[in-house]
């Protein structure tokens, strides 16, 4: 495969996002859903508009298809046409859709990625991964992730119909990836009643594999103090990632004699990578064999299951058994 990857874009992109594709090393060559004038504005003179999605797929110079909006049928079509697929925010993709995409990606030997992994790229997350992988926390028993207000660096999703679509997928992706995508045994959920003007607040509480109690709080528009923190508690140490402005940064606590937790270090190395880094990582994965930048179709399937189980728990007014 050539180092320069031809990109076909389906859906409404703006000039800024097109430029990000170029900066990531892609060469936009075909557009469906955006005008050629936009491409010229973004400095992509070779990108021509297609009359249909099928026309876009027929282009031999298109190696990768970027989908601006989630579209299970288009993603499957693109994989079947031998294209790699990068899917922006996954919106309301169902677990069934995701499972079909997992199968399609395997069947056609192509790579699909979902752009839910933006929070994985932060320096704190990488640092946390080092501590977790080195076993410095011992046995994990509790992980708590709280976001009050949209996390820094994440734009509002224009089509966000719920908190999952807004920033929930990203937070789940960040935490579940650090934990190695544990299996979930039970999930219960609470959502604040939502008449007009009420804040949106979703609480999830799960019993995950390895005895971990796992909870997520997503709140937007409420009157809680802004927060974006993740706590990992283990029997040998604890980690706190605190992204909020004025927060504590990154802290590691180690079990110490006398049973008083000892704060070992705090590092302020947080830098949320911009969206472009996922595009770039995806290109490097395809062109240079670097690791998949995430989120994989299998992981997207797991995220979609979380969303569906949460919806089921809310609708049925009971805890959902997941195994």
């Amino acid at each position: 495969m050539s180092a320069i990857l031809g990109l076909g874009i389906a859906g409404a992109y703006d000039a800024q996002r097109l430029r990000a594709c170029v900066e990531a090393g892609f060469e936009p060559r075909a557009l469906f859903g955006s005008s050629a004038a936009l491409a010229r504005e973004a400095g992509c003179p070779h990108a021509g508009a297609c009359a249909s999605f099928e026309d876009l797929l027929a282009r031999a110079d298109v190696d990768v298809v970027a989908l601006a909006a989630p579209h299970e049928r288009q993603a499957a079509q693109a994989l079947a046409a031998g294209k790699h697929v990068l899917c922006e925010r996954p919106g309301a993709l169902s677990a069934e859709d995701c499972a079909a995409l997992v199968r399609a990606a395997h069947r056609h030997g192509r790579t699909a990625a979902f752009a839910c992994a933006r929070l994985r790229a932060g320096g704190f997350t990488s640092l946390a991964r080092q501590y977790l992988e080195a076993g410095r926390l011992g046995a994990l028993y509790r992980v708590e992730a709280v976001v009050h207000g949209r996390p820094q660096g994440l734009d509002p999703a224009p089509d966000a119909s719920g908190l999952f679509e807004d920033f929930g997928y990203e937070l789940l992706d960040q935490v579940l990836d650090l934990l190695g995508w544990p299996r979930v045994r039970t999930l219960c959920a609470h959502q604040a009643p939502e008449p007009p003007g009420r804040p949106r607040h979703l609480s999830l509480f799960a019993r995950a594999g390895r005895g971990i109690a796992l909870s997520f709080e997503f709140a937007s528009g409420g009157l809680l103090r802004p927060r974006h923190s993740i706590n990992f508690l283990g029997d040998r140490g604890g980690l706190l990632i605190d992204h909020a402005e004025g927060g504590r940064g990154f802290s590691f606590f180690e079990e110490a004699p006398g049973r008083r937790a000892k704060l070992l270090e705090t590092k302020a190395v947080f830098k949320l990578e911009p969206c472009g880094s996922i595009l770039e990582a995806f290109r490097e994965h395809l062109a240079e064999g670097r690791p998949h930048p995430g989120t994989t179709p299998e992981q997207m399937l797991e995220l979609a299951r979380w969303r569906e189980r949460a919806a089921e728990a809310l609708q049925s007014d009971r805890e959902v058994l997941c195994v």
């Binding site: 219960c188 003007g197 909870s215 009157l223 029997d235 706190l240 504590r248 049973r259």
Partner: protein, 356 residues
């Protein structure tokens, strides 16, 4: 009965008796008539160390107290396993009761206490689960009642103590034993937080809850000393009216100290932090921008003294609000029991009326 200087007996001569009950009694309208513990030597040492008046009787059982004249109330500061039997016997003997928390070890014991209250009209019982109701809690309750929060939809309790528990620091081992203490930090400190939250919100009814506990830190106890309470409790509970509660209680955690209660409503949020117990923060929109306002509570008497002052007014026929009453204590115990059961069974539990 001497209504200006009613008599009280203190049962239990441990740390909480010395640090809380006795100073409160001494600052209150009540006269200390007796101190009591199962071991005479322990009571005599307590009396000596606390410089108690010679007239204070030394007792080794409730029976001995009941033989004394001029005792209108008993203050129970013993391990939780004895709370229910002592409370019931004292009520049946015509005494008002003040009792440490947790109120009992089980809801069935609480129901027996409720029955004792019912057959002894005119007597009162109050548990010290209400210790956090002082400070800013009344102001917070007023804000809720006035509708300043709008509709409360989310509450959060955080008690994280990155330190040794009493029993690890050479304190009594019963503190870490379920049979004697009823549970760990959730049963101990959690009761204060639950009581305060329910007090602020007007005792909302829980519908269902899901909980998980962790026990696994080494205790440092000598071999053979049982430590079988939880180190960490996490739960999500659903209440009537669309309210949810998330709760964490732990006295062994590799993390920062946390000691707070938050109540979010559709029109504002209340934040109570025990680092500043007389202050609550109210966060609401002003001209479209979130603004925080401090609710400062006036200086008040320490909990034990305040409770006794109110009990003294009760004896005179007035109706001041007392501490956690028998029905509230039953409700808290039912909630705690359900949380422990949910954690043990690894599934959600519904409140009895919901399940029915």
């Amino acid at each position: 009965m001497n209504l200006e200087r009613p008599g009280i007996a203190l049962i239990g001569c441990g740390q909480i008796a010395a640090n809380c009950h006795l100073p409160g009694i001494q600052a209150s309208p009540f006269a200390l008539r007796a101190v009591c513990d199962a071991e005479r030597e322990r009571v005599e040492r307590f009396k000596r160390e606390q410089n108690l008046d010679a007239s204070v009787a030394v007792c080794t059982s409730l029976d001995e107290i009941l033989k004394l004249d001029g005792v209108q109330a008993v203050s129970i500061a013993t391990p939780p396993a004895s709370h229910a039997p002592l409370s019931i016997r004292a009520l049946d003997a015509g005494k008002h009761v003040l009792c440490e928390k947790p109120s009992t070890l089980s809801a069935s014991e609480n129901r027996a206490v409720c029955a004792a209250v019912a057959r002894n009209p005119g007597l009162t019982i109050q548990f010290f689960s209400s210790r956090f109701r002082d400070g800013a809690a009344p102001a917070a309750r007023r804000f809720v009642r006035e509708g300043r929060l709008g509709v409360p939809y989310k509450a959060d309790i955080q008690f994280w103590l990155p330190a040794a528990r009493t029993c690890d620091r050479g304190g009594p081992p019963w503190f870490g034993q379920k049979a004697h203490a009823g549970g760990g930090p959730f049963m101990d400190m959690g009761q204060y937080f639950l009581d305060r939250l329910f007090f602020i919100l007007g005792w909302p009814r829980w519908r269902r809850l899901s909980a998980q506990t962790f026990s696994g830190f080494p205790t440092g106890n000598p071999p053979g000393v049982v430590y079988d309470v939880e180190d960490h409790m996490s739960l999500l509970a659903h209440f009537d009216g669309g309210l949810a509660l998330t709760l964490e209680t732990t006295a062994r955690v590799n993390q920062h100290y946390r000691w707070s209660t938050t109540v979010a409503g559709s029109a504002g949020t209340l934040i109570l932090d025990n680092a500043a117990p007389r202050r609550a923060v109210f966060r609401a929109l002003k001209d479209g921008v979130p603004v925080e306002e401090d609710l400062e509570a006036p200086e008040s008497a320490p909990d034990m003294q305040a409770r006794l002052e109110r009990l003294a007014l009760r004896l005179k026929g007035e109706r001041p609000e007392l501490g956690t009453d028998h029905e509230q204590a039953l409700y808290i115990t039912e909630f705690c029991e359900a949380a422990y059961r949910s954690a043990a069974e690894g599934r959600e539990l519904r409140a009895p009326e919901e399940a029915a």
